[in-house]
C-alpha cells in the first residue's frame, strides 16, 4: 500500500498526533492547576463553608493537593491517572474515576445522538437548499437554519420542556432514565438531544449548502451531467461526498462545542452526565472532580479530532496524497 495509508506513514502520523494529544492533556491540567493559584479564595474554605475550622480546611487542602507546588500536583495527578485513579472527591470520599465513569455514558450518548440528529437533518436541508439556489424554499430554509444557529440550547431546552413535558406530558423532565431500561432511557434522551442538536442542524445545513453549491459548479459535475446522469445521482453520489468534507472537519471542533452545550442541557434536564458533574464541581470548587472531568473531556476532544483527521483523509484523496507525500519527505 502506498501513500498515506502505508504502514510507515500512518505510524508516523499517529505518533505525531499522539504526542500532540499528550501535550494538550498535560497543558490543560497544568493550566487548570495554575488557575487554582490565580483565582481568589481558598478552595478548601469555599468548599467547606464559613463554619469550617482551620484544621479541617488544612486537611482538605492536603487532600486536594493544594499544599503541593504546581509541577508536583500535575505530576502526581498524571501518575495516578495512568493507573486509572483520577483522585478522590474530597466531599463524599468517592472515587472520581467511578463518578466520571458513571456520568460519561450519559454524556456520550447525548453528544452522539445530538451529532447524529444534526447530521441527519442538517445534510438534507443543506442539499435541498443547494439544488434550488435562490428559490423561495432556499430562502425559507436559510431563515430557518440561521434561526436555529442563533437560538441557544438552554432556551430551546426550556421551551421544549414547557411544551412537550408540562403542556403535553409526552416526555419526562428529569434525569436520564432507569438504568438498564432502554426504552425509558430513550424516552429521557429525546428532548435533550433536540435541544443540543438544534444549533448544529442549522450550522450543518448552511455549511452543506455552500460547499455543495461550490462542488456543483466543478467541471466533473458538468461532465457527469453531460453524460446524462440523473440529477439525483449527480448530487448524491458525486457531489455530496466532497461537499461533506467541511462538515466532517467541523465535527471535531463540534465535539468541544457539544460538550460545552451539554453542560447547560444536562443542568436543565437534570441529567447526571459529565457536563452537570463538572458544573457542580466548579460551583463548589471541588478541584479533584474538576480535574478528573477536564481530563476526560479534553481526551474526548483530542480523540474526536484525531478521528476526524483520519476521516478527512479517507474522504478526500487530495488530503491523503498530500499527507502521504509530506510524511515521505516530499513537498505538498
Amino acid at each position: 500500500m502506498n501513500g498515506f495509508w502505508s504502514k510507515g506513514s500512518l505510524a508516523r502520523y499517529g505518533a505525531s498526533r499522539l504526542a500532540t494529544a499528550v501535550l494538550v492533556l498535560v497543558g490543560s491540567i497544568a493550566l487548570l492547576c495554575s488557575l487554582t493559584l490565580i483565582v481568589p479564595g481558598d478552595p478548601a474554605r469555599i468548599l467547606l463553608g464559613a463554619r469550617a475550622t482551620p484544621e479541617l480546611v488544612e486537611t482538605f487542602r492536603q487532600q486536594m493537593g493544594l499544599n503541593l507546588p504546581l509541577y508536583e500536583r500535575v505530576f502526581v495527578f498524571f501518575k495516578h491517572a495512568l493507573q486509572g485513579d483520577l483522585g478522590t472527591d474530597v466531599i463524599s470520599g468517592r472515587s472520581v474515576t467511578d463518578m466520571v465513569l458513571a456520568a460519561l455514558p450519559n454524556t456520550i450518548l447525548l453528544a452522539v445522538s445530538a451529532i447524529g440528529l444534526a447530521v441527519l437533518l442538517g445534510i438534507p436541508i443543506g442539499c435541498y437548499a443547494a439544488v434550488r439556489p435562490g428559490s423561495l424554499l432556499d430562502q425559507v430554509l436559510a431563515v430557518f437554519s440561521v434561526s436555529l444557529v442563533a437560538t441557544p440550547s438552554y432556551v430551546v431546552a426550556i421551551l421544549l420542556l414547557y411544551f412537550f413535558s408540562v403542556r403535553l406530558g409526552w416526555f419526562p423532565v428529569l434525569g436520564a432514565g432507569e438504568p438498564g431500561h432502554v426504552l425509558d432511557q430513550l424516552h429521557h434522551l429525546i428532548l435533550p438531544t433536540i435541544a443540543l442538536a438544534v444549533g448544529w442542524i442549522g450550522y450543518i445545513a448552511r455549511l452543506v449548502r455552500s460547499s455543495l453549491l461550490e462542488v456543483l459548479s466543478e467541471p466533473y459535475i458538468r461532465t457527469a451531467r453531460a453524460y446524462g446522469q440523473p440529477e439525483r445521482r449527480v448530487v448524491m453520489k458525486y457531489a455530496l461526498k466532497l461537499a461533506c468534507i467541511p462538515t466532517v472537519a467541523i465535527l471535531g471542533v463540534g465535539i468541544g462545542e457539544l460538550m460545552g452545550g451539554a453542560v447547560f442541557v444536562e443542568v436543565i434536564f437534570n441529567r447526571p452526565g459529565l457536563g452537570s458533574l463538572v458544573f457542580d464541581a466548579i460551583r463548589v470548587r471541588n478541584y479533584p472532580v474538576v480535574q478528573g472531568c477536564i481530563l476526560i473531556i479534553v481526551a474526548i476532544f483530542v480523540l474526536a479530532n484525531l478521528l476526524v483527521d483520519f476521516a478527512y483523509a479517507w474522504l478526500d484523496p487530495r488530503v491523503r496524497e498530500a499527507l502521504g507525500r509530506t510524511r515521505s519527505g516530499g513537498g505538498v
Binding site: V39, S92, I158, V173, F279, R283
Partner: protein, 515 residues
C-alpha cells in the same frame, strides 16, 4: 434469514417504537398513591456525618434517619422528647437524661445506649491534637457526658448555655450516632447514614437521587409516607417545570413564578418568612464611613421598599433589626427609617461631604444581590455618592472572610442564614470576629459584653432584653442597613402537607403528611 430494511418498514418500526416509548406509563401522579413522594433538593447530599455536615440538605436526611435526645416539634422552634424518655435541666450546667427502651440502630449496629450519646456529643470537643469537627461551636459549652447506666446519663456544661437546647440538642449536632457504626465504617460513615429514626437511607445515587424508606424498627409514630425520594435539582426553572409536569411533589421555588405555579391544577404555593438576615453595611475603619453622620445619611438615602419591590418581586418583608420576628430577642419596636433624601444630603453637608464621594459596593454575583446593588447605586446617586458595583463569584466573595481581607471592603451586601437561638446571630458582629466574619470591622465593647452575657443567661426574659439592647447598639451605630429576613416559597401537591421549620431550609421529612 435475511432482512431487507425498506423505507416503509423503517417508518413503521420507528412509529411503533415511538408509540411504545410515549405510551409507557410514566405516571406523573403515581407517587402519592402508593405512599411515596418525590421532593426536590437544591443540591445533592454531601456529608451525612452530623458533626461535619455541609448544610441543610444533609441535616434534613440526618434528622430523618437519626434521633436526638429531643427534636423540634413539627413546624415550630419548640422541642419535644425524641430518643429521651425523660430529660431535664437539673442546674444551669447539668442536664440529665434517660433514654427510651428498645431503640435500635439500623444496619445491625445494636441498641442505642448512653455510651452512644456520650460518644456522639463528645466528638464535638477539640481532639488532643487540637483538631475540631466542623460544627464544634454548637457544643462549645460541653464539658463532658457522664454515663450513669445503660440508658441514663448526665451532660455537664462548662458554663450555663441556654442555646445548647436549640443549637445543639434539637438540631443536627444533637443526633445520636452509633459508636460501633462509626468505628466500623471509617471514612464511609459520612456517606452511610446509620440511625434509629423514622427513616432508613435505602440508597444514595450521587447526583441522581436518594431514597428514604420507613424504618420498620422505629418505635415512635410511623411517618405518613413509606418512601421519600430526594432529587437534587440545582436549576430553579427545571424544578418548577418538573413540578408542573408532575414529576416531583414538593420543591422550593423562585417567588417570582409563584403565581404561575399556583395556577397549575393540583399545586399549592406557600410562602414562609425566614430568619436569615440580609443587610448592607460599610467598613467602619474606612473613611468616610468612620463618621456616623455619613452612615446615617446613607441609611436615610437607601430605599429598602424599592429594593424589595425590584430585587425580590415584593415577595419578602422588610427587616428592621438583626433578630427576625418569632425569635427570642426580636426587637419589635425597632425604628422604621423612612427615606429622606434632603435629610441625607444635610447630614453629608454637615460631615463636609456635600460634594459627594465615590465608593465601591461588593456583592455576590447573584441576580437578587445585583438588583439590590443597582437600586442602592441609584439611591445614593441622588445624594451625590457614586457607587461602583463589585459583583463577585462565591469563591472570591467569601474570600473576604480570610486573611483579614475585609479591611479592603468599602460597602458590602451580606446575607447570613439564621438559627433559632439569638446568640447565633449576634456572634458574627463581635470584636473578635474582625478579620473573619465581622466584615464591617464594627467594634463595640458593650455589644461584646451583651453577647457573652446572652450566651449564659438562663432566664428567657432577661435574655430577650439582652439581645434587644444589643440590637439598639447596632442601630445607634447606623452601620447596618437592614433589608430583609428573607422568605422561602414552596410549591407542592395539594394533597401534601410539608413539614418545614420556621427557618425555611430545614425540612422534617418525618412530618410530611397527607392533607
Amino acid at each position: 434469514m435475511s432482512y431487507e430494511l425498506t423505507r416503509r418498514g423503517f417508518l413503521a418500526g420507528a412509529a411503533a417504537a415511538g408509540v411504545t416509548v410515549l405510551g409507557q406509563p410514566w405516571a406523573n401522579v403515581a407517587y402519592a398513591a402508593d405512599g411515596k413522594i418525590v421532593v426536590r433538593t437544591d443540591e445533592d447530599l454531601q456529608n451525612l456525618d452530623p458533626a461535619n455536615r455541609a448544610g441543610p440538605i444533609d441535616v434534613n436526611v440526618i434528622l430523618a434517619v437519626g434521633q436526638g435526645l429531643v427534636k423540634f416539634k413539627p413546624g415550630t422552634t419548640e422541642w419535644e422528647n425524641d430518643a429521651a424518655a425523660e430529660i431535664k435541666q437539673v442546674s444551669d450546667t447539668l442536664i440529665e437524661f434517660r433514654l427510651k427502651e428498645g431503640l435500635k440502630f439500623t444496619g445491625g449496629y445494636g441498641d442505642l445506649t448512653a455510651e452512644d450519646v456520650k460518644f456522639s456529643f463528645e466528638r464535638f470537643k477539640p481532639a488532643a491534637d487540637g483538631t475540631k469537627v466542623t460544627y464544634a461551636d454548637d457544643w462549645a459549652a460541653l464539658d463532658s457526658v457522664e454515663v450513669t447506666g445503660p440508658l441514663t446519663g448526665k451532660i455537664h456544661l462548662k458554663a450555663p448555655s441556654p442555646a445548647v437546647w436549640l443549637i445543639a440538642l434539637a438540631d443536627g449536632s444533637g443526633v445520636i450516632i452509633s459508636k460501633k457504626a462509626f468505628e466500623a465504617l471509617g471514612d464511609k460513615f459520612k456517606t452511610t447514614a446509620i440511625g434509629s429514626g423514622p427513616y432508613i437511607l435505602k440508597e444514595w445515587v450521587p447526583r441522581d437521587h436518594f431514597t428514604l424508606v420507613a424504618n420498620p424498627d422505629y418505635i415512635g409514630e410511623k411517618p405518613a409516607f413509606s418512601e421519600i425520594v430526594g432529587k437534587p435539582i440545582t436549576d430553579d426553572k427545571t424544578a418548577q417545570l418538573a413540578l408542573q409536569a408532575g414529576e416531583i411533589d414538593f420543591s422550593r421555588i423562585d417567588p417570582a413564578v409563584a403565581k404561575d405555579v399556583e395556577a397549575t391544577k393540583g399545586l399549592k404555593v406557600e410562602k414562609l418568612s425566614a430568619i436569615d438576615y440580609v443587610w448592607i453595611g460599610p467598613n467602619i475603619e474606612k473613611k468616610p464611613f468612620d463618621d456616623v453622620r455619613v452612615r446615617q445619611a446613607i441609611r436615610k438615602a437607601i430605599d429598602v421598599p424599592a429594593i424589595i419591590a425590584a430585587a425580590y418581586n415584593g415577595a419578602v418583608d422588610q427587616a428592621f433589626a438583626l433578630e427576625a420576628p418569632g425569635l427570642l430577642g426580636h426587637w419589635k419596636d425597632a425604628p422604621r427609617y423612612e427615606r429622606d433624601v434632603d435629610g441625607a444630603k444635610a447630614l453629608l453637608e454637615e460631615a463636609g461631604l456635600g460634594g459627594g464621594f465615590t465608593t465601591k459596593l461588593t456583592v455576590l454575583n447573584k441576580a437578587v444581590a445585583q438588583a439590590t446593588a443597582a437600586v442602592v447605586q441609584a439611591n445614593l446617586a441622588e445624594i451625590g455618592i457614586e457607587v461602583e458595583i463589585e459583583a463577585l463569584d462565591p469563591g472570591a466573595y467569601w474570600a473576604y472572610g480570610e486573611n483579614d481581607a475585609s479591611k479592603n471592603l468599602e460597602l458590602v451586601l451580606v446575607e447570613y442564614r439564621g438559627k433559632f437561638d439569638p446568640g447565633f446571630q449576634t456572634q458574627w458582629f463581635t470584636s473578635d470576629q474582625i478579620g473573619t466574619w465581622n466584615w464591617q470591622r464594627w467594634s463595640n465593647k458593650d455589644f461584646d459584653a451583651l453577647h457573652k452575657q446572652g450566651l449564659v443567661e438562663p432566664d428567657p426574659k432577661k435574655r430577650e432584653q439582652i439581645y434587644v439592647d444589643a440590637q439598639k447598639l447596632m442601630d445607634e451605630s447606623a452601620a447596618f442597613w437592614w433589608i430583609t429576613h428573607n422568605a422561602y416559597t414552596f410549591a407542592f401537591k395539594d394533597w401534601l402537607v410539608p413539614g418545614i421549620l420556621p427557618n425555611g431550609n430545614q425540612w422534617q421529612y418525618a412530618s410530611f403528611k397527607k392533607a
